[in-house]
Amino acid sequence: MEINIQPLVPEIIMAVLALLLLLLELFVRRKETVGLLCIASVTVAAYYMPQSFGKAFGGMFISDGYSVFFKFLFFINLILTVLLSIRYIVIERVNHGEYYALMMLSTLGMMIMASAGDLIVLYLGLELMALSTYILAGFIRHDIRSNEAALKYFLLGAFSSAILLYGITMIYGRTGTTGIALIGAALAEGTVDPVLLLSVTALLVALGFKIALAPFHMWAPDAYEGAPTSVTAFMSVGPKAAGFAALGRVFLTGFGPLTGEWSVILIVLSVLTMAVGNILAIQQQNIKRMLAYSSVAHAGYAVIGVIAAGAEGLSSMMNYLFIYALMNIGAFAVVITLRSEGFQGESLHDYKGLSRTHPVAAAVMLVFMFSLTGIPPTAGFIGKFYIFKAAVAAGYAWLAVVAVVFSVISAFFYLRVVMYMYMHEPEGEPLTLSLSPAIGLALLITTVMVLIVGIYPSPFLAFARIAAG
């Protein structure tokens, strides 16, 4: 049997280098080096990406524009979170090389998910991603909150995996195949019956769990709050985007013939998600928890792109996730700088008067909060604009209106941070920021990119548009 591994080259490189990193960890004293090597490895994998287009293993693995876009997104996520982590995990006293290897392996899982042409590959990719993330969430072993976060995430994740497998077995029993494209072909001829609906539902629930759609979001606030902040940044973007990649491929290719059935469900979930995320975020006093609910809400916006379907809908969703990655990691980067030896810096009140004590940090946070709200000329506006435009074009104008209303509500809690920073006097001890060149670089990249995408979006839009096909 002829095996063509060309499409898999970036994945193989990631796997080999992750294992090498794991070994190297034993000999390298300065763990920062491991972090930098991790970034270097990603660059190598990214270098081989453009030559990877094609299918392998009889269509089980597909490297196309769609997956390559998501893989670049995962790489950006990985690089930025590694930059955030280098100083942070020293402060948390968990400076171990496994951290970076696990991040790479998790990213590898995401890459496999994005490229999966078969539900079994999809499931294994998801497990690889999730298992690594569970461990990362509990990486601060001496912190009970971190343990709790990991355990909750793990148990509920296992529950959702079970549901996913149920769904896969049923679709296999119904169509006799696990290939996503083959499922689509099989469904195109047949009629809709309850088994199909149950398996669609199960897949929707399992993937909805990964992207934190309400009511399958409940793990998110607890896990995000307890996990190390750098891991929170990582898992609020990476696994979510991977979930979207899988959702887009499975539902638009595999379940394409059932669009009428599942789009109704997704609309309900989208509205519910925006409502739950935005309304509960208002109540939060802990910024990590607030950003957790905000991340739930953003999944609600992005899913509109899937509902709108077609190249326009998909590309708006991809574009939104790209922008979301930048602004969300940026916001978490600021949160991390507030954490220092013996100071949590997670309460909203810690942001009072930040503009007086640290004007640059405050200004950067302002950019991210504006972007998360969706105020031009930041990238967040562009993301929302194209999502809403796709919704309107697909005939869901009312859904776009609902989303706009929730965006307005979201201004309440995002701008409250800004208000604390700019309109309150500093309280208590003067803050010291934990800055390092790495985190400075991460902040610079995210801020500049948020502004560039906001002001000059066309190349990014074009990239997403071409990738969506």
């Binding site: 049997m1 095996i3 898999l8 796997a15 294992l19 794991l22 392998a56 293993f57 009889g58 089980m60 693995f61 968990v94 171990h96 496994e98 290897a101 696990l102 392996l105 590898l108 496999i112 078969d118 079994i120 590959v121 294994l124 990719g125 497990e127 690889l128 298992l131 690594s132 569970y134 461990i135 509990g138 990486f139 072993r141 049923m170 029993g173 119904r174 169509t175 006799g176 019956d193 309850p194 088994v195 199909l196 609906l197 149950l198």
Partner: protein
Amino acid sequence: MVELFFGYLAGAVVVLSLLVVFSRNAVHSVLWMLLMFLHMAGLYLLLNAEFLAATQVIVYAGAILVLFLFVIMLLNITEEMRLEQFTVGWPMGVSVSLGVLIAMLAALSGFRTDLKGPWSIEAVERTTHTKALGKVLYTEYMLPFEIASLVLLVAIVGAVYLAKKRLR
């Protein structure tokens, strides 16, 4: 004949599962579960999947349940049983289970028996199950197989990291 065996095994699996859930003594639960796994292995045998049946016995009965027993005996679980959060949820558990049952029954009408893949019963019988599985696993499903190895690796790394005694 086959129907009779199937009826016995399936019925036993249902009854044993209920016993697993309703036993008050955790050790008894585990032992009921062991029996249930053995009956499930029997079901696999009926489906001409002898390799699966063997794996079921070796991995679940042999490894996982022994681990369960270790944990239960280390934890002195009878104390925990009195704590509210582990028992108060039973109505919820029952309703979820009923929900699954109803959902399955509702979906039943859609199942079909006329689908034939490349591996019909005759083909499996001809090559024997273990050989057939090996063939498929190392050719067609090599990619999932390799990914699974990575998943296991991550699990090991995680277990080692989280269980390491002292950290520098």
